[in-house]
């Protein structure tokens, strides 16, 4: 019996590089969860007949790609967080792609100048405020998070999380390192508890009365609202688009790049074009309540209800450039301590 089991498994394994479709395939290294990509990739296969193969991991795929070199099977890398994407460019692992479709679909500020990456979605890093204990308009900017009035009233996840690092990098870009250090210290002093958990956990903490404000990505809130069991928690907070009247809200991106070694380059470009198309962008918007990168596609109804987002027009490259300074600042301020 056990032998049979092993044999079956071995066969399942051997059959893995699923029999290539006549229309070919495209291989994806993804830092995004495969289940998030599934509806998009299914739609792609349906439309083009091209099969998609995915490896998802949270770390190490860039190293794998680098070491596999010219023989790497990967055609595209899908990432979240601009610094992650930038790393691929810096390691010279990705190639330029310039097609009319991509240029038409993705605005200039959401792609690499030489086409080494294209954003597919954006997400705002928002402030969530207790409906009960924070009046509307009482907080309107990231800068105010350091005000003394919020002492012991703010929750965040680890300062080292890429989403927070990107936010802090944008603060450095706008205010310089010294000023940002002061701000971060102020924010740390206002924390109700040691940074912990994920973005959803901070919203839960507000519902629990542990704190009154939290920082989090827009889609976490959206996905909580979509989940029957988490909706009552999410409904206890208001969302604030910070700096909406000023420089705009900090946004981060998820994106896609063509690898230098792509064995199925044509299919890969087809996938990139498809993912930027209105059809795919609508799926993105609905399935994960993110903001579509394609300006022709409106956010999902749920997201649209929150009002318009006015994104900070700071270049994403600038945010990536300040990452190291931001990481070290978090250590110096001992934000997580």
């Amino acid at each position: 019996m056990r032998m049979k089991l092993a044999a079956t498994a071995a066969m399942a394994l051997a059959a893995l590089p699923l029999s290539a479709n006549a229309d070919g395939e495209v291989n994806i290294y993804s830092y995004r969860q495969a289940y998030l990509l599934e509806p998009l990739l299914n739609a792609f296969t349906e439309e083009t007949g091209i099969d998609t193969n995915v490896v998802f991991a949270k770390q190490g795929l860039a190293e794998r790609l680098e070491r596999e070199g010219r023989n790497s099977p990967a055609d595209v890398v899908m990432t979240v967080d601009i610094s992650r994407i930038n790393e691929l460019v810096e390691k010279d692992l990705v190639a330029s792609v310039d097609t009319d479709t991509l240029h038409k679909n993705i605005p200039e500020n959401l792609r690499h100048p030489e086409g080494k990456w294209y954003a597919l979605t954006t997400r705002g890093r928002l402030i969530f405020a207790s409906k009960e204990r924070v009046k509307e308009g009482e907080i309107t900017s990231y800068e105010q998070l350091a005000d003394d009035k919020w002492e012991g009233r703010i929750c965040t996840r680890s300062g080292k999380h890429p989403y927070n690092i990107a936010l802090f990098s944008s603060m450095i870009a706008h205010h310089g390192e010294a000023e940002t250090a002061k701000w971060l210290e102020g924010l740390k002093d206002n924390l109700a508890r040691k940074p912990q958990g994920g973005d959803r956990d901070q919203i839960k903490a507000i519902a629990e009365g542990v704190c009154d404000l939290s920082i989090g990505n827009s889609y976490y809130y959206g996905n909580m609202l979509k989940d029957d069991k988490q909706r009552p928690i999410a409904e206890q907070v208001n969302l604030v688009f910070p700096n909406a009247d000023g420089r705009g809200t900090h946004v981060n991106i998820s994106g896609i790049s063509l690898t230098k070694s792509a064995p199925n380059k044509d299919n890969a470009i087809k996938l990139m074009e498809f993912l930027s198309s209105p059809e795919a962008q609508r799926i993105y918007a609905e399935a994960n309540t993110e903001y579509p990168a394609n300006p022709d596609v409106k956010p999902s109804g749920l997201v649209a209800e929150w009002g318009d987002i006015h994104p900070d027009d700071l270049s994403l490259q600038e945010i990536a450039n300040n990452r190291e300074a931001a990481v070290k600042l978090v250590d110096r301020v001992d934000y997580d301590g």
Binding site: Q59, Q196, G209
Partner: protein, 562 residues
């Protein structure tokens, strides 16, 4: 103490060995170690090429905290696993109480639960919106979190408890195997010389079981040192946290490799110290399986104490989390039922069995070679081959990619140059790469436990067999392996379950469209949606239980019971 003597003993003496055959063992040991050590050596190699020197910044800022927290966590988990593991192992081996047979394998169940899953489950149970606090608020009429104190689960103490609850089976398993292998006559002699049961436990039983317990404890400590999932979730700042920070946030893989190397040194020093402290001990026992263990018959209250001692870790390490998972699985069943489970389960079972078998064969080869050649060099080889366990899985995965992809590309270039054909990647991104990684990572488990058990077989056995004309290989098969049966099964079981749970290396090394149960669960857990993956998480647990029961039966049978 007649059979197990503590004395300086050099092990097998050279004249015993027919030169040619023994050389074969030596060469195979060296070759295996060379291959198995490659990933670790790759990481050491990477450590020479940091993007920038990370240490000044670390020393100035977070390093002291990382170090202190790491030590606190390791000491805490170490004590917890020792207390639980030894107490339960002793109880089920030596005492007769209701449910003893059930606890024998039941105590292994927490092992099937990945640490990050138990952490997640307890957080959802104990946090503000969880059932415990809701009930308390209802009961006492509190309105919100500011009105009462509740222990913070996301803390160093919380992490210690979570990790300890799922790792104590290492100590339990190895200690129990060691207790089972001890001759009951030792115990009887000690008692007849006027020692109480307790004092016999500490003066006779523990010292004899110490090599096995040390192996178990060192596995626990290495796993604790490398845990990232739990400490990350609980925001506990250990060195591993600093390592990933350096790698992922600062993009400094070389710096991260340096931290990994430092952690490795730390482990090597610990293990060396433990071995050094018992360098003059050599224990042999001509085991006599026909001499059954006579368990204590105890008064009812004492039996109940035994039940309580065994029930505590089982309830909190398994029943509570499994029940919670079951509840979520039921609650989210429609959203989470997915036919891909079946394939994922096959993948997990296949990889884990293959890896368990490989590590066992290599572990026996190495440990037996060491028995034949008890030299300093062999000792170093043994240690070198076991280092994979002392590194975080994700770092080790990069260490696996470097030589495999290097080999693939070298061969490919060669073939392109001479035959104008491209062989592409033969090993990278295949099941082979994963089994290789598992083997490297978990070899310490099998090599360590086989080695410690082999040490207890008296050389006179070898001498007898060899003088009757058997080769070392025949001796191994006919004499040692049958005597080691319990240990071998234990080692295979531990490696199997460890592989079922293995996550970071699997994620990085797997082929396209390939999921194990662990990676499938992780997709959701990493997106803050463990509820949706409660069902596959439960399947990991169940898939882990079946081999636990099967193998446990064999382990118990390895010693005839009264």
């Amino acid at each position: 103490m007649t059979e197990a003597v503590s004395s300086a003993n050099p092990g097998l003496t050279q004249p015993l060995l027919a030169k040619r055959t023994s050389k074969r063992w030596l060469i195979s040991a060296i070759a295996t170690t060379a291959i198995v050590a490659l990933p670790v050596l790759s990481v050491l190699f990477l450590a020479f090429f940091p993007e920038e020197n990370i240490w000044p910044h670390l020393i100035d800022t977070t390093l002291p905290r990382y170090l202190i927290t790491t030590i606190q966590l390791m000491v805490g988990v170490g004590i917890l696993t020792l207390v639980i593991g030894l107490a339960t192992a002793w109880a089920v081996t030596m005492c007769e109480f209701p449910g003893r047979k059930f606890f024998e394998w039941g105590l292994l169940l927490p092992f099937a639960i990945p640490a990050y899953v138990i952490a997640y489950v307890y957080t959802s149970l104990l946090d503000y919106a969880g059932p415990v606090q809701v009930a308390m608020r209802d009961w006492f009429g509190w309105k919100n979190a500011t009105e009462y104190w509740f222990p913070e689960i996301r803390s160093l103490e919380g992490a210690t408890l979570m990790i300890g609850l799922v790792l104590y089976p290492y100590v339990y398993l190895l200690a129990r195997a060691a207790f089972l292998e001890q001759s009951p006559s030792l115990f009887a002699v000690s008692r007849s010389l006027g020692h109480s049961a307790l004092s016999t436990f500490f003066k006779v039983v523990l010292p004899i079981a110490r090599p096995a317990i040390a192996v178990g404890l060192s596995l626990v400590l290495m796993e604790t040192l490398n845990d990232f999932g739990t400490v990350d979730f609980f925001a506990v700042q250990t060195l591993t946290r600093g390592l990933f920070d350096t790698w992922m946030n600062l993009g400094n893989l070389g710096g991260a490799a340096q931290i990994a190397t430092t952690m490795l040194m730390f482990v090597v020093i610990l293990v060396t110290l433990e071995r050094y402290s018992r360098r003059r001990q050599q224990q042999y026992a001509a085991r006599d399986n026909r001499d059954p263990i006579r368990r204590f018959t105890m008064s009812f209250p004492r039996q109940m104490i035994c039940v309580a001692v065994c029930a505590f870790p089982l309830v909190f390490g398994f029943i509570v989390p499994a029940a919670a998972l079951g509840y979520y699985a039921w609650d989210y069943f429609d959203e989470s039922w997915n036919p891909v489970f079946i394939r994922n389960t096959f993948n997990s079972l296949f990889l884990s069995s293959a890896a368990a078998l490989t590590t066992l064969v290599i572990g026996v080869t190495l440990a037996y070679s060491r028995r034949l050649h008890n030299t300093r060099g062999m000792q170093v080889l043994m240690r070198l081959s076991s280092l994979g366990y002392a590194m975080p899985g994700a770092v080790l995965a990069v260490g696996v990619i470097v030589p495999l992809a290097g080999f693939d590309n070298w061969l490919d270039s060669l073939m392109r140059d001479y035959f104008n054909v491209s062989t592409g990647l033969l090993l990278s991104g295949t099941a082979f790469a994963m089994i290789f990684a598992y083997t490297v990572r978990f070899l310490a488990v099998s090599a360590g436990s086989v080695e410690s058990a082999l040490q207890k077989i008296t050389p006179s056995m070898d001498m007898a067999s060899r003088s009757l004309g058997h080769t070392p290989g025949k001796t191994l098969i006919n004499v040692h392996l049958p005597m080691l049966r319990g240990t071998l099964l234990t080692a295979a079981l531990v490696v199997f379950v460890d592989c079922m749970k293995e996550l970071p290396a699997t994620l990085i090394l797997r082929p396209f469209n390939f999921d194990t149960l662990a990676t499938y669960v992780y997709q959701f857990a990493s997106d803050e949606q463990l509820y949706h993956s409660a069902l596959p998480a439960l399947i990991i647990v169940i898939a882990g239980i079946i081999p636990i029961i099967l193998m446990n039966r064999s382990i118990s049978n390895s010693r005839a019971m009264a």
